[in-house]
Amino acid sequence: MSEIGAIFRAAFELILRWDSNLGEIVTLSLYVTFFAVALACCIGLPLGAAVGVFRFPGRTAATVLLNTLMGLPPVVVGLGVYLMLSASGPLGPLRLLYTPTAMIIAQLVLVTPIIAALARQITEDLNREYADQFTSLGVGPFRKLWAVLWDGRYSLLTVALAGFGRAVAEVGAVMIVGGNINHVTRVMTTSIALETSKGNLNLALALGVVLLAIAMAVNAVAMAVRASAMRAAYV
């Protein structure tokens, strides 16, 4: 019990002291994850909505594929991206390995299927609701997509947050493609892994608490934005 108390005290001290090192890794964590999730939304939301709304051959297969890819193991994604970006890989000349960009790419690959799969479900349900109106108004395909994405925006915010949660907590992929280089590609999760391997278990757990606190803050902000937007929409 006293050990748990010590961990929370250590986490508290970490946050209170907030040295430049901690600030650096927190900033990089958020930078990488926000970028990855934003891009994943740009790709995943329209993709998911397209599968959810349009009827085309192989649609069930596409759904199954999207749902399966939600379970992509991060280490496999990390290895795949590593092989692409490695100096001997096809994208080697871009010299992106061991940079934050490489980490964004890995998280993008990891998160896009999650966002697409969840968006598909939400937009499919909405589309069913709107189907008659769409038909009677003769709405074109792109208007349809836009309509379900816009009307589903509050649910889709939760989808984005699910993607954020996955990305910010991920360690296997960013460790491989980022290399956990101090001051360059070290983020919250790789720091936790490093401190664990140094046997500094309390510090590792304290960093975990800090990570959770930051994730909570992001979620709280998102929910507040959503609440005020909903109030504005329904007055």
């Binding site: 990089l28 329209p46 490695s86 100096a87 934050p100 960009t101 046997g199």
Partner: protein
């Protein structure tokens, strides 16, 4: 429209870099967890950077993985500890030349109860044979790292077929040194570790060094410049500058000066150069 904007965003992502990463002169060093976890690199690298203006980005993985990464060209300098594998790396044309940098030794750590009764033995091979005979849990890296290779050499000398015992008393974690120590300590097993990682390790519980001092537990570190013949993008000049510094009197003194709790972790032993 949309697709074009997306492509532009992706392109921008590729071209730009994180805000914290300024355009700096740097090399990438593929190294081992022991040099990083022990704090050695955090101690010596700033000295080099201050003098040369070259930042050193360290990717710390097991020796096996570090060598594979370097073979693929994902690094400018290799700083690892598995002499045979390093010499093969050079012989295969991936490295320019190998230099001795420093050494320390491997130690066998175990629980104070010492169920196999190896405490104080000087002969590591006999100690391992005793562990095998009593079938006391032994926790191995199992990850093709320098430490793992050294451990397997000792088992071979002891005439123990650990592959057959794997999953029984012999347990392979497939992880780094720190992770393996965490697991080993929790399982009350014996672990072979490098001394530097052990001294700086924070989760020792009541574990102690039981066997040390066998010359066969010698742990030599070497440094190699990755060959620009295989990988033309290698930053040879800066990499050479780093290696020269590491082997110079100044670099060697910096290595020797690194201590934790008054104990020296690495002993410089580069050959004097003309």
């Amino acid at each position: 429209m949309y697709v074009r904007a997306l492509c532009a965003a992706l392109l921008a992502l590729i071209l730009m870099d994180a805000p914290s990463v300024a355009k700096e002169r740097y090399i990438i060093v593929q190294s081992t967890t022991s040099t990083q976890n022990s704090g050695l690199l955090d101690h010596i690298l700033p000295l080099f950077t201050k003098k040369s203006g070259i930042a050193v980005r360290v990717v710390a993985v097991g020796t096996g993985q570090a060598i594979k990464n370097a073979r693929r060209g994902d690094g400018d300098v290799l700083l690892v500890h598995a002499k045979a594998a390093e010499e093969k790396f050079v012989a295969d044309g991936f490295g320019v030349k190998r230099f001795d940098v420093m050494y320390n030794d491997f130690v066998l750590v175990g629980p104070p109860s010492d169920p196999a009764g190896v405490r104080g033995m000087r002969d590591a091979v006999k100690a391992l044979a005793k562990i095998a005979k009593t079938k006391t849990p032994f926790i191995s890296r199992g990850d093709d790292s320098g430490t793992h290779k050294a451990e397997l050499r000792l088992w071979r000398k002891a005439g123990v077929d650990v592959a057959a015992a794997s999953g029984g008393w012999y347990r392979e974690t497939g992880s780094g040194m720190g992770a393996t120590l965490n697991i080993g300590v929790a399982m009350s097993g014996y672990i072979l570790t490098d001394r530097a990682t052990w001294i700086s390790f924070g989760n020792k519980r009541d574990y102690k060094i039981l066997v040390a001092g066998d010359p066969r537990m010698f742990n030599q570190y070497g440094v190699i410049l990755v060959s620009a013949k295989k990988h033309p993008h290698v930053k040879s000049a800066m990499g050479r500058q780093f290696i020269d510094w590491l082997l110079s009197a100044e670099g060697q003194a910096a290595i020797g000066a690194y201590k934790i709790g008054g104990r020296q972790l690495f002993f410089p032993n580069a050959a004097p150069r003309k």
